[in-house]
Subunit: 192 residues, 2 copies
Amino acid sequence: MPLSQEHKNRSRKKILDSAVELFSAKGFNNVSIDDVMNNAKMTRGAFYAHFSSKSVLYKESILNAAINTKLAKEKPDNLENQEWINRLLERYLSSDHVNLKSTPCPIVFLSIDTAVSEPDVKEAYTATFKNMNKGIYDFTKSYSTCSENQILAVTAMMVGGVSIARALNDETTKNKLLKSCREVAKQILDGA
Amino acid sequence: MPLSQEHKNRSRKKILDSAVELFSAKGFNNVSIDDVMNNAKMTRGAFYAHFSSKSVLYKESILNAAINTKLAKEKPDNLENQEWINRLLERYLSSDHVNLKSTPCPIVFLSIDTAVSEPDVKEAYTATFKNMNKGIYDFTKSYSTCSENQILAVTAMMVGGVSIARALNDETTKNKLLKSCREVAKQILDGA
DNA sequence: GTCTATAGAAAGATAGAC
DNA sequence: GTCTATCTTTCTATAGAC
């Protein structure tokens, strides 16, 4: 591969990493091409030598971040599968991941809207979320041993399920996902 | 209450309902004030007689949608709590809710980004999501009886958990949520 | 391939008539 | 309170020099 091509690839990678970082933190719409390029230490004009539009960048960012996470490839040889999965769970559902101190998951990309930056919106959101959980608990406590903590997990599953379903391309996967969430949620709320 | 005040309230409600509908379908950033007002059959200028800015509208929309869902108030008297919760689950995790044919949940508001409208992005997203599930299954099948369907539900819980955590205001709730998701996810993946 | 400069469009917010 | 008209900012995308 010629030197110039290598240089181009490095630049492309720098842009993609910059984009993943910013999209995860602020959401696609709250990040301009200028932001991405400045964060990659380049100027706006150079962008179009690599990507034909902003939405192409978005698509490539998802794929790039997916490669970055390397779920399968990173497992140390001396670790059992079960331990590895548990470690991944811990890492994924950690404050560090939430606060973007570890490699962000591209599936959560599209879950950030203006809410992140507007305190008033955050407040309304938090109150509504608490209400939702309390509402469910008020009903389940009369017939189930299901704890308030378990309900938090169920709510997350509900919200995640609907969010992902809305973004999916493929009707079969969508329906399977919704059905699975219904079944598992029901099991937990029934106190199994 | 004077007639003019009543008129103003009706207009306000019309704007809010219009906003909830559009934000749910396209996300906050992909909806302009013009869109909201046209959908409410008014013009842009009238907007500022009701809300001081677009982000105030967002906040009020969340609260308005939360009232609309009326989780608790709608329960028919002759229905047992358990049946009612199951019915809510079915409704929440339904195609109709995903496709916005029933009253949308404001907690899912912030989960829609450009992905919805760009086919290329949807495609990349769907592929990445499937990969994530397959990746987890490849490990768990060696030690657990956990089904592929259950893994879908776990993935939804993980994504929902991180998304919600990012939007929350309150560190205590955030940490409780993450911990609950970790525990419940682990339980399911262990094949309990 | 990367830069600066700029065209063109979109959208938040305001002003003033009715 | 609602309208039309307008100001202003921001951002995508392109043009042309090096």
